[in-house]
C-alpha cells in the first residue's frame, strides 16, 4: 500500500506541481508552436506522452544494465539522445505500416518530438531522481499527462487571444508568452493545494 501511495504522489506531483512546461520549462517550443488549435494540441500531447513512456522504457534499463555496470555514465547524454531519436523514427515507421490512420493523426508530430527537450529531460530526470523502474514509468506518464493538460488548456487561451485586439508590438510571440505566464501562475496556485494535500 505504501508503494502505491508513493506512486500516486509521484504521478500527481509530476502532473500538477512540477508540470514540465509551466514549472520546469521543458518542451516550451512545441507548447508555444503547436497550441493554436485544440485537436493539434491534443495530438501533440498524446504523442509526447507515448514517446516519453517508450523512452523511459528503453533508457532506464540502458542506464542501469549497461552504462552503470561498465562505468560509462558520462556517455549518458549521447546515448539517450540517440536512443530517443531512433525510437521516434522506428515508431513512425511502425505506425505507418500497421496503423495508417493513427499515423495520419499523430505522425506529423513525431519528427518534432526528437528534439523536444521534455522527452530527454524526463529520461535524465528519472535517473537523477533515483526512481526505480515502475516509479520512472509513472513519473513519465505524469509528465506526459501534465504536458497534455498544459497544451489543451493553453490552446483554449490562444483561441481567445486570436479574437482580441492586441497592441501591435505585442502581437505574436510576446502576447503568447504573457498568456502562458498567467496559466503558469494558475498552476503555481494549484501546486500549493496539492502540496498541502500530500503534506
Amino acid at each position: 500500500m505504501e508503494g502505491f501511495k508513493s506512486l500516486v504522489v509521484i504521478l500527481l506531483s509530476s502532473v500538477l506541481v512540477n508540470n514540465y512546461v509551466l514549472a520546469r520549462f521543458l518542451g516550451i517550443c512545441p507548447f508555444l508552436g503547436v497550441s493554436k488549435k485544440l485537436d493539434q494540441a491534443a495530438g501533440m500531447g498524446i504523442s509526447v506522452t507515448a514517446v516519453m513512456l517508450l523512452a523511459t522504457l528503453v533508457t532506464w534499463p540502458i542506464q542501469h544494465f549497461i552504462l552503470d555496470p561498465f562505468e560509462l555514465g558520462y556517455l549518458q547524454t549521447i546515448v539517450f539522445i540517440l536512443v530517443i531519436a531512433s525510437l521516434v523514427q522506428m515508431l513512425e515507421v511502425i505506425l505507418k505500416k500497421f496503423s495508417p490512420a493513427l499515423h495520419r493523426g499523430l505522425g506529423v508530430y513525431l519528427p518534432l518530438i526528437t528534439t523536444n527537450c521534455a522527452v530527454l529531460g524526463v529520461a535524465i530526470n528519472n535517473i537523477t531522481d533515483g526512481y526505480n523502474f515502475v516509479e520512472s514509468l509513472v513519473s513519465s506518464l505524469g509528465c506526459g499527462l501534465g504536458f497534455l493538460l498544459a497544451m489543451v488548456l493553453f490552446s483554449g487561451m490562444r483561441s481567445r487571444i486570436d479574437e482580441t485586439e492586441v497592441p501591435k508590438n505585442f502581437r505574436g510571440v510576446a502576447i503568447t508568452l504573457i498568456a502562458a505566464s498567467f496559466l503558469s501562475l494558475a498552476f503555481m496556485g494549484l501546486a500549493e493545494i496539492v502540496n498541502n494535500l500530500i503534506g
Partner: protein, 229 residues
Amino acid sequence: MKKDGNLSVLLNGIIKENPTLVLILGTCPTLATTTNVFGAFGMGVATLAVLICSNILISLLRRVIPDNVRIPCYIVIIAGFVTIVQMLVHAFIPDLYDMLGVYLALIVVNCIILGRAEMFAGKNSVGRSALDGLGMGIGFTLALCSMAAIREVFGAASFAGIAIPALENYKIEFLVKAPGGMLVYGLLIALVGIITAGKAPKKKSFSCAGCPGAHICGSSDCAKGKEEA
C-alpha cells in the same frame, strides 16, 4: 542570396538576428536558467562553446556528411561537445554544475545549435561558421544575462549573488518564479520588436527555418504555420 561580410555575420547574431529575442530559438534554457545572473552567464558561455565547436566541425564535415542522414550526424557531433562541456563544468565549476543541473545536458536539444548547424554551418566555410557561432553565442549570452539581471535585481534584490540592500524590502518575488520568467521574456520580445521595428527580418513567428524537423515535416502543420505567419 547575398553574401554578407564577415563582420555582419558576427553582428547579425548579436542584434539583428538575436537567437533568443528575434528568432525565438532556445526558449527552454532562456526561461529556466535566468533566475540569477551567474547561472544565466554560465549557461550562455556553455552554449557559446558548444555552438562554436559544433559549427566548426559541421562546417568542416559538410561535404562528407550525406544529406539525408545529416540531422542524426549533427546530433551526435553536438552531443559529443555537450558531454565535453558537461565534464569540464563538473570538474572546474561544480557550483554552476549543480545550479544548471539537467539543463546543461539539454544543450543537446537546444534548437539554436541544431538550427545554426542546419541554416548556416552546413552551407558556409569554416571561418564564417565559427564567426556565426561566436555571434549567435554572444547574442544568446547577452539576452540571457539581461533577462536574468531584470529578474534577479527586482525579484531577489541581488545581482549575481551579491545582495542589493536598497531593494531588500521591495522584492517582487513573482519575477524569480516560473510565471515571472515568461512575463519578462514576453515583455523583452515586445521591447526588442519596438527597437528593431522594420529592421529585423520578418521572423516574429516560431521560425520553421530554425526547427530541425522542418525538412521532414514540410507538408505538416509546421509548414502551414509558416505560410500564415
